[in-house]
C-alpha cells in the first residue's frame, strides 16, 4: 500500500520449476512447523513463510496447522497479502439454523416494509395532483469542451515560435542568458502564485456554497421526504466520521428541514458540541427530550454541553437522569464521578473567596 507507487515488500512467490523446496529456500527448520512454535512466533515474516510452506503442501497437508498459522498471521500482520486469498462465499446452507432464521426474518420484514412503502409512494402520487418538483434549468453549453489538451498544444506552439534558429547569428548576439534565466524564475513564481490563488479560490467557493437549501415541502410526498431525510442524515454521519463538522452540520440541518427526525437532532447536537456551539447543542437536545424525555443520548449530550459551559449542576442532573434510564451507562458514571469531585473542590474554593470578600 504505497503512496502513489506500488510497494512489494512481501516475499516473491516461488517459481514452479525450482528444484529445492520452500523449507530449504526460506531456511526454516522443520520443527517450526508445529502448533507450539506457530502460536508463540512473533516474527510476521517467518509466519508468512510458514503459511506459504504449509499451503504449498510440500511438507504434507495439515489443514488445522495451516489455519492456525493463518490466524497467527492475522494477529501479527492483519494486512498481509497472503490473507487476501479468496474463500468461497457463504451460502445460506452454511449458516447455523439460528443465524439463517434471523437473516430470513430480517429480510422478510424488510420486503414487507418495502411493499408498504411502494404502495404509499404510488398512493400519495395518485391522490393529489402534485406539481412537478422544481428543477434547475436545462444546461446550455456555450461551447463543446474538447478532450484534446488544447492548452498544452498552445503552450507547445508558443515555445516553437520563441525558439531561435541555430544559424540566426544576429538573434543569438542579442540573446542574454541572464535575463532569460530571470524570466524563467519570474514565470515559475507567477505560476506558483497562480496555483496558490486557485487553491484559495476553490476553498472559498466550497465554503460559500454551503448555504441552506430551501425545500418546498408541499411539493413532495411524505414518503419521499422521509427517504431523502434519511439519506441526508447518513451523508451527515459520513462527514461527521471524517471530521468535516461544518459539512455534517449543513447536512443534518437539511435532513431536519425535510423531516423532523429525532435522530438527526441528536446527531446535530453532537456536531454543535464539536463545533463548540454549546447553546445550540442544548437547544437541539431539548427538542429531542420534548418528544422523548427518556432519550439517553440526548441527555448525555446535553450534559456534556452543560459541562463545557461550566454549568455543572445542570450537567449532574442530566447525567443522573440518564443513569435512571440506563443504570449501567459508563459514560454517565465516569462523568458524574469526575464532576462531583470537581464540584466539591470548587465549593471549597468558592467558600474561601466568600470569606475574603465578606
Amino acid at each position: 500500500m504505497g503512496k502513489g507507487k506500488e510497494e512489494d515488500d512481501e516475499i516473491p512467490p516461488p517459481k514452479q520449476e525450482q528444484s529445492e523446496n520452500l523449507l530449504k529456500k526460506y531456511d526454516i527448520p522443520v520443527e517450526h512447523l508445529s502448533f507450539e512454535y506457530v502460536k508463540e512466533c512473533n516474527d510476521s515474516k517467518e509466519i508468512e513463510r510458514i503459511v506459504r510452506i504449509l499451503r504449498s503442501g510440500e511438507e504434507g497437508c495439515y489443514p488445522d496447522l495451516t489455519r492456525c498459522a493463518e490466524e497467527r498471521l492475522g494477529q501479527l500482520k492483519p494486512r498481509s497479502r497472503l490473507l487476501y486469498d479468496p474463500k468461497p462465499v457463504t451460502s445460506r446452507s452454511m449458516l447455523g439454523p439460528d443465524e439463517r432464521k434471523q437473516l430470513d426474518s430480517e429480510l422478510d420484514s424488510w420486503t414487507r416494509e418495502m411493499r408498504t412503502r411502494e404502495y404509499d409512494l404510488e398512493e400519495e402520487a395518485n391522490q393529489t395532483q402534485r406539481p412537478p418538483i422544481p428543477r434547475p434549468a436545462i444546461r446550455r453549453s456555450p461551447r463543446e469542451p474538447k478532450l484534446g489538451a488544447d492548452a498544452r498544444d498552445e503552450a507547445a506552439n508558443a515555445k516553437e515560435r520563441r525558439r531561435l534558429a541555430s544559424c540566426d547569428y544576429a538573434a543569438w548576439d542579442r540573446y542574454d542568458a541572464e535575463t532569460e534565466v530571470s524570466k524563467i524564475d519570474l514565470r515559475a513564481e507567477r505560476e506558483l502564485a497562480e496555483a496558490k490563488r486557485l487553491q484559495e479560490r476553490r476553498k472559498h467557493e466550497l465554503a460559500s456554497s454551503r448555504k441552506e437549501v430551501a425545500i418546498e415541502k408541499s411539493l413532495l410526498t411524505g414518503t419521499e421526504l422521509s427517504v431523502m431525510a434519511t439519506r441526508e442524515r447518513e451523508k451527515g454521519n459520513e462527514a461527521f466520521r471524517a471530521g468535516d463538522y461544518a459539512e455534517a452540520l449543513q447536512l443534518y440541518t437539511t435532513s431536519i428541514a425535510m423531516d423532523c427526525d429525532i435522530a438527526a437532532y441528536n446527531n446535530r447536537a453532537m456536531t454543535h458540541i464539536k463545533l463548540r456551539n454549546y447553546e445550540k447543542a442544548i437547544k437541539d437536545c431539548q427538542t429531542v427530550l420534548e418528544v422523548d424525555s427518556m432519550n439517553v443520548k440526548a441527555l448525555l449530550r446535553r450534559a456534556l454541553a452543560f459541562e463545557h459551559l461550566e454549568k455543572s449542576k445542570e450537567a449532574i442532573k442530566d447525567y443522573e437522569a440518564a443513569l435512571n434510564v440506563d443504570p449501567n451507562n459508563k459514560t454517565a458514571i465516569a462523568a458524574l464521578n469526575k464532576l462531583k469531585k470537581y464540584d466539591d473542590d470548587t465549593d471549597s474554593v468558592r467558600l474561601t473567596i466568600e470569606e475574603i470578600y465578606d
Partner: protein, 357 residues
C-alpha cells in the same frame, strides 16, 4: 472479538436466466429489481423480479430491439423511478417500468455501444438538474437532460483527427449544489479525465497503468471526496479529491487484488468509506478506507497537497466461476446487494455487520 465483527457475505438467493445478463439494479423504495442483457437472438432482455420469502419471482418481462449494456435510476425522481439504459447500438432510452414495452425517451446518442451510464440529480433536492451521462466505444462522453429531446447538453470528445479511445467507464460527482458538477471518464488506454461541467473545462487528467474498467465517486452529491478507479490486471486506485495540487494532482494509493481484471467498484449507499470491487475471476472484495490523521499538508512553497489514507480488506469471497458483470447495493437496506455474472445467474447477497464499520 475482531474476528467476530468481520462482515460476512451471504448468498441469499440465486436465479439463472436464459440470456447474458449485463446489468441489474434495485428499483428504489422496493424489494424489486430490473435485470438487463442480451438474448441469443441479439435482442435485448428487460426483466423485473421481486424478492419475496427468499425467492426471486419474475414479475414481468419485455423484449427490446437491441441488447442492453447498462442502466441507472439515479436521474429519476422517487415517484417516477424511470430507468435510463444504454444499448449495443449506441441508443440511450428511458423506460417507465409500469409499461416498459416502449421507452418514454429515446435518442441515437452514440455511433457504437454505450459501455457505461450514470445519473445524478433525480432523487435529490438542491443538487442540480437531473442528468444522464453516457460513455461509448466511439470515444465520446455525453451528458443528457431527460427534458431535452434529441440533443445532449454537453459533449466531451477528442478533436477531429485525434485518436479516439474506447470509453469504458463514466461517473458523476461533486454535485453538492445546483451549479457544481464534474464528470469522470476512464478509457481503454488507462486515461482518466475529469471535466468540470460548470466551467466546461478539463479539471484533471491522469494515465493509469492499465485500461480503466470501473470508476465511481464515493458520493455523487457531496463536495467531491474520493474517487475509486479499477483497472485491468487487478489494480484498484483510490484518489483523495479534497485537495488538488497544481502539479501532482490528487494523491492516491494502489492496491492489487482479485488476480484478474477488476471490473467494477460500488460504494455502499449507507457508508461511503465501504466499497466492494468485483473481479474477472468471479471474486468480491469488500474494502474500508481509513483516513490519515491529517488529510492535507502544506509544502515548503505554501501549496497544499492531499494525503491519502489506507485500505483495509474486510472480506474476500469467490462468488462465481465467471466474471461479474454488475453489482448494485440497495439504497433501502444496508448490505443487500445484487450481482450478475457471465454464468447467466443473478444473485442476491446480504453482507452482515456493516453497521459496525
Amino acid at each position: 472479538m475482531e474476528k467476530l465483527a468481520k462482515p460476512i457475505i451471504v448468498c441469499h438467493a440465486e436465479q439463472s436466466v436464459d440470456y447474458t445478463v449485463f446489468d441489474a439494479k434495485w428499483i428504489p423504495c422496493s424489494a424489486k429489481f430490473v435485470a438487463l442483457g442480451s438474448k441469443p437472438r441479439n435482442t435485448g432482455a428487460l426483466q423485473i423480479y421481486e424478492l419475496s420469502a427468499g425467492k426471486l419471482n419474475l414479475v414481468k418481462q419485455h423484449e427490446q430491439p437491441n441488447p442492453i449494456k447498462c442502466s441507472t435510476f439515479k436521474a429519476s425522481s422517487l415517484r417516477e423511478r424511470y430507468l435510463a439504459t444504454g444499448d449495443f447500438k449506441g441508443r440511450m432510452c428511458i423506460y417507465d417500468l409500469e409499461d416498459a414495452s416502449t421507452p418514454v425517451y429515446k435518442v441515437e446518442g452514440h455511433k457504437q455501444i454505450i459501455n457505461a451510464i450514470d445519473g445524478v440529480g433525480g432523487d435529490t433536492i438542491g443538487c442540480g438538474a437531473p442528468e444522464i451521462l453516457t460513455g461509448s466505444r466511439d470515444g465520446s462522453v455525453k451528458v443528457w437532460d431527460p427534458r431535452q429531446k434529441d440533443r445532449p447538453v454537453a459533449i466531451m470528445e477528442p478533436f477531429e483527427g485525434d485518436q479516439r479511445r474506447d470509453c469504458w467507464s463514466v461517473a458523476f460527482g461533486n454535485s453538492h449544489n445546483n451549479e457544481d458538477r464534474v464528470v469522470a471518464a476512464g478509457y481503454d488506454n488507462g486515461d482518466v479525465k475529469m471535466f468540470d461541467l460548470r466551467a466546461m473545462a478539463l479539471r484533471w487528467e491522469s494515465t493509469l497503468k492499465f485500461g480503466v474498467c470501473g470508476l465511481e465517486f464515493d458520493r455523487r452529491d457531496i463536495p467531491m471526496n474520493k474517487l475509486v478507479a479499477t483497472t485491468l490486471k487487478s489494480r484498484v486506485y483510490v484518489f483523495d479529491l479534497r485537495t488538488q495540487h497544481p502539479k501532482k494532482g490528487f494523491s492516491y494509493l494502489v492496491e492489487k487484488a482479485h488476480s484478474s481484471t477488476v471490473w467494477l467498484v460500488r460504494h455502499l449507499p449507507q457508508n461511503r468509506e465501504l466499497f466492494m470491487t468485483a473481479g474477472g475471476n468471479g471474486s468480491l472484495c469488500l474494502w474500508k478506507y481509513e483516513y490519515p490523521p491529517k488529510r492535507k499538508v502544506q509544502g515548503a512553497d505554501g501549496i497544499e497537497e492531499g494525503v491519502i489514507g489506507s485500505l483495509n480488506l474486510l472480506q474476500n469471497n469467490i462468488l462465481s466461476s465467471q466474471p461479474i458483470s454488475s453489482l448494485d447495493w440497495s439504497t433501502d437496506k444496508t448490505g443487500l446487494g445484487l450481482i450478475t455474472s457471465f454464468d447467466q445467474t443473478i444473485r442476491v447477497i446480504l453482507t452482515t455487520k456493516l453497521n459496525l464499520y
